[in-house]
Assembly symmetry: C2
Homo-oligomer: 311 residues x 2
């Protein structure tokens, strides 16, 4: 008989990171369940995604967080629950925690974080509760004694890199650009698919039980100056740079109403405050690329190559 | 955390015995999966049944034996697989066995038998392969080394009892009836819901691992003479009896084309040959009501009471 693999339930399976989790789980040979709302079948993109999941061997369960019996029934089938809910729904994860407690079979819960560490970020006064809600979910998980791993992938590669950190732009600049702060602070960008591969690698790994897993692979920890230099080398042209000071950035964040200033807030967090990298990983944490040296991931440089083809 | 319960997959979940298995599994607190064809949703009765399963906490998986990836994906989520396919589909269980081997996670397989013991019946020359197919499935299970329990419930209560063993009749006779043989041979009748309750009781029980479980509860092992006597007492009237000899019954079986003679074949097996009771349960077997004395079951007498109300 084949080795028994943990059964993985992905909640929020049709979302940007959820779909990658389903694929990575199937790729790793896990029996995989995807919870989808009935309404997903009326959405052409989502229904085609669900069909592709089913063809690849996933089991689609119709249900939602609003329908607790359906959520509980799904959780009862899972050894591992991965929440990939959008950040706006962070607090709805309280229902998942409740179901995990009631089901009693879940060996690992991965709550929806997939960003910076909510216990480390230094912008809690300006993010309108974005990280506070994620921290609250951590505390609830810990109080309930639910085995867990928190995944801090920092930024998704598709966020900010396609514009070279120029809010509002769709493609990287070819003439001039803004650099926030002095351009030396390092942020971290990881491709969604790689986040999923690293996440799935942790679920049966005792080394990551009840830990924070930071994803900081070499080649993905990068300052704005380095990013611009890579890009200039690729397009063989020097760009005109305007430096935006901390004070100017804070003034813009203050002057522009929320949520239109969200990108600026996250830029302030990552490139001024250094929220992705200002701290060393302590005993409560592990680093993904150290734990899983065989995982092939896309570096920022490689990702910039794909932008060059499109630009 | 609550005790972890085996996850049960029922294949053939909308059928007569399958629906009882789903209910009994849910009643016993097992996470329960029901495999249903897409087409079941177009059938008003089946779709309403599936809806009631989902409301009671089962997870409905769309799939079928014809769609191997869907079958495999479902089996991978299960610790226990219960096949409740109709007898005509007995050999299609080879696909289930294949999926169980590939999935590698199934701790118990209950193939679809729910009749007399196919290794004990003495009518293999006249049943058109009915029991041979079930015996073939047993041999395949054993060759593949799949942990199993075979359930021999003999006859369902709803088979033959409502007519007092008068083929073709819809209600029990109130004037005269036929008795096959001398009326002293004992057969066994068990309510479908009770078969399911006993079956679900075995799935995490090491005493039934790789055994045949016979369901022969006191009050359900009965001869035609006893059955008629019970009925006569209930209706306070003596019936006129015609005794049909072995030879006469065999002649009828021979003269009537298959499958119209099926009831007579099963009557011959049970009430002439004594296929339900002619043997003692040996070391390869266990008896359900001895193992699970707390299971409340309906006796033949109690069942006859319900017929009286209708008659």
């Amino acid at each position: 008989m084949a080795e028994k693999k943990s059964r993985v339930l992905v909640i929020g399976a049709t979302g940007r990171i959820g779909r990658e989790m389903v694929k990575a789980s199937l790729d790793a040979g896990h029996p995989t369940l995807a919870l989808a709302r009935q309404s997903a079948y009326s959405d052409p993109l989502k229904s085609s995604l669900l069909r592709s999941f089913a063809e690849a061997g996933a089991v689609i369960i119709t249900g939602s967080l609003d329908d607790y019996p359906s959520l509980l029934a799904a959780v009862k089938l899972a050894d591992v629950v991965i929440s990939a809910l959008p950040s706006a729904q962070s607090l709805e994860q309280m229902m998942i925690i409740h179901a995990i407690r009631e089901a009693g079979c879940v060996k690992r819960f991965i709550p929806s974080e997939f960003g910076a560490d909510p216990d480390k970020v230094q912008i809690l006064n300006m993010d309108h509760g974005f990280y506070k809600k994620k921290a609250d979910i951590r505390r609830r998980i810990e109080i309930e004694g639910i085995p867990h791993t928190y995944i801090c992938c920092n930024f998704f590669m598709s966020y900010l890199i396609p514009s070279l950190v120029q809010p509002g732009a769709k493609v990287p600049p070819r003439d001039k650009l803004k650099i926030y702060g002095d351009g030396s602070v390092k942020a971290v960008f990881v491709l969604e698919a790689d986040v999923a591969t690293f996440t799935i690698s942790t679920i049966d790994d005792q080394r990551t039980l009840d830990k924070v897993m930071y994803i900081r692979p070499p080649g993905n920890v990068i300052s704005m100056n380095e990013l611009v230099e890579f890009w200039e080398t690729k397009i063989a042209k020097e760009l005109e740079k305007t430096y935006v000071s901390d004070e100017e950035l804070l003034k813009s964040i203050h002057d522009i109403p929320f949520p239109d200033n969200s990108d600026l807030i996250f830029i302030y967090s990552a490139f001024i405050k250094g929220d992705h990298t200002y701290f060393n990983i302590d005993k409560a944490g592990v680093e993904a690329s150290c734990l899983y040296p065989n995982v092939k991931y896309t570096t920022v440089k490689e990702y910039l190559d794909t932008l060059l083809q499109e630009g």
